[in-house]
């Protein structure tokens, strides 16, 4: 039994997408972070971007069968600015919610709710100069 992919991108488009997102955010040994072409992140990008397939098809077609370098990625960005921006946004949205990436950036691997976050207490002594200057609103008779 085979599982149907949860996105409409063809195999060739998937490879093209992996090539370009891996150029946008490559893996880093220095920071111990995966690239955006990591299979798990790539799958998130393809799934989350399912509705965009039609808008990206033409641009992705130019990358099919290519192994991209930084210069070719820059050319792609220049030639297809709208598609590049869509892919960039999608890539960033999916990359920065990956648990490994969040851990590497010292971000709690959880949604904000329900635990929330803690803030330091206020120090209103900073307002003394403002209080000293007095009222600033315009009087109306």
């Amino acid at each position: 039994m085979t599982t149907q992919p949860s996105h409409p991108f063809s195999t060739a488009e998937q490879k093209a997408m992996a090539a370009i997102v891996g150029q946008i955010i490559p893996a880093s040994d220095e920071f111990a972070q995966p690239g955006a072409d990591d299979p798990e992140i790539l799958n998130d990008i393809l799934t989350s971007g399912a509705a965009l397939q039609g808008r990206l098809a033409t641009a992705l077609a130019t990358l099919v069968g290519k192994t991209l370098d930084a210069s070719q990625a820059a050319d792609f960005r220049q030639s297809f600015p709208c598609a590049a921006e869509l892919i960039q946004t999608l890539t960033v949205q999916c990359y920065y919610r990956d648990a490994r990436v969040m851990l590497a950036l010292n971000i709690d691997v959880r949604p904000p709710f329900p635990r929330g976050y803690v803030q330091e207490p206020n120090d209103f002594s900073l307002l003394e100069p403002v209080r000293r200057r007095g009222e600033i609103y315009r009087k109306v008779l």
Partner: protein, 534 residues
Amino acid sequence: MTQDPVDVLIIGAGASGAAVAWSLADTRMRILCLEQGGTPDQNTFPTTGRDWEARRAGDFALSPNQRCLPEDYPINDDASPIKVTNFNGVGGGTVLYAAHFPRLHPSDFRVHTLDGVADDWPVDYQTLEPFFAENDRMMGVSGLAGDPAYPAGKSPAMPAAPMGRSGRKLGKAFNACGWHWWPCDLAIATEDYDGRAKCINLGACISGCAQGAKGSVDLTYWPDALRKGVELRTHCRVREVTIDDQGMATGVVYFDENGAEQFQAAHVVVMATNGIGTPRLLLNSTSKQFPDGLANSSGLVGKNLMFHPYASIQGVFDDALDGHNGPHKSILSQQFYETDPTRGFVRGYTFETSRGLGPVATALTGMNWGLVPWGVGHHADFRGLQDRVTSLYAICEDLPEEHNRVTLDPVLTDSDGIPAPHIDYTLSENSKQMLAHAIARGTEVMEAAGAKHVETAAPIELAGWHLLGTARMGMDPARSVVNEWGRAHDVRNLFIVDGSIFVTSGGANPTSTLQALALYIADQMKQRLANLFD
């Protein structure tokens, strides 16, 4: 199909509709509110998932044109540098607002007298003061008493929200400049308040508050109004207000949740559908008596549209600040709120801080600024911005101009076939001067705070939060659409209570004033029940 008549029919369950429903419920009249959207479910709000930032570009996008949910109607704002943001559902814009809750100033109601521009309002700050206070109590406002930018007497029910590292840093910078600043009044519970749990600093107020700490009217006014017997019917989109031969409103035609056309009869109709929705509905309500739109004998329905043009001044710092942790707004400055002729423009603006960015917004903002590249340098440069950005926004007063207007689009319709609004809007020279001033002064603040890099923009495109002026109030039927207590000059049982009745915009977030005004109008209606239509 015709429904039994109600005493009062309110269109729209947002900030003003909720306040009026709650207040009028005291009369024990039969009150019905029709709302085109549904009731928000906090359990599904973005911050319940790790994809919370991505959803800001999807089902919780600020623009209805981007969100495209069934309850949204499209808006043709191609001819405007500022795009409309809204939320269609119970709670209206308060579901997605940042809950910054300043009042307009006393001077805002006397603009013509003081500065010789626009018109004075037919009400004043003093008249509205008790309604400001009542509204603050209902919405649950936190803050710090004693702000010298306002007359004495404003006392928030709860302590101010945390200023955070970013608020402290910018507060010190305002001190260094010798300028006013103060902790923001926020409709955010900093203590458990009236059934609402206190804020836990989720940092995504404008994506809906999953904690329920933010004072959106689905959590403040509506539970009380429903307990008092008001009926709220959701997923009902009004097409037109109908009238009889005497020019009195008879009710509304609407599409119910199944898309079926219905007629609801009413003795009084109250419109609370914001500065875009209200003129749209009035212009769609044509008849023999009102061929140019209901209540439009002045020709002013849809005209004098005011946004608040926003400028952004964002600083990058060496030290870690708050990131997205905490309510968006922390402190404000109204140093430049009141007119000073030496500045080259009349009226003024509020600076409000905006705390910081989540990781997705950090990366995308950094890429947009050219500070975070594609490729190997991405990771190090991202770390250079992570939790190190904070912002000032200037909310500039927008003066009324008749050429800034809402009309009906000749082509675009919503999913029920109702003509959509079309916006024509240009920035005035006064606004341009004010934006330039705000950017210069805001940059001074950022530099005084030690920012190593400052980015500015004006006007911010997706900042059409405040939709004002398109059915203005006034004493003169030739120069206004509603009278000094919100009743249409032309239709004696039609009331308008939303931001469209603002005469001028002020230079501050309008929700507090808008709701105080709605409560004032409801109070006037209650006092005049015996002769409401005279």
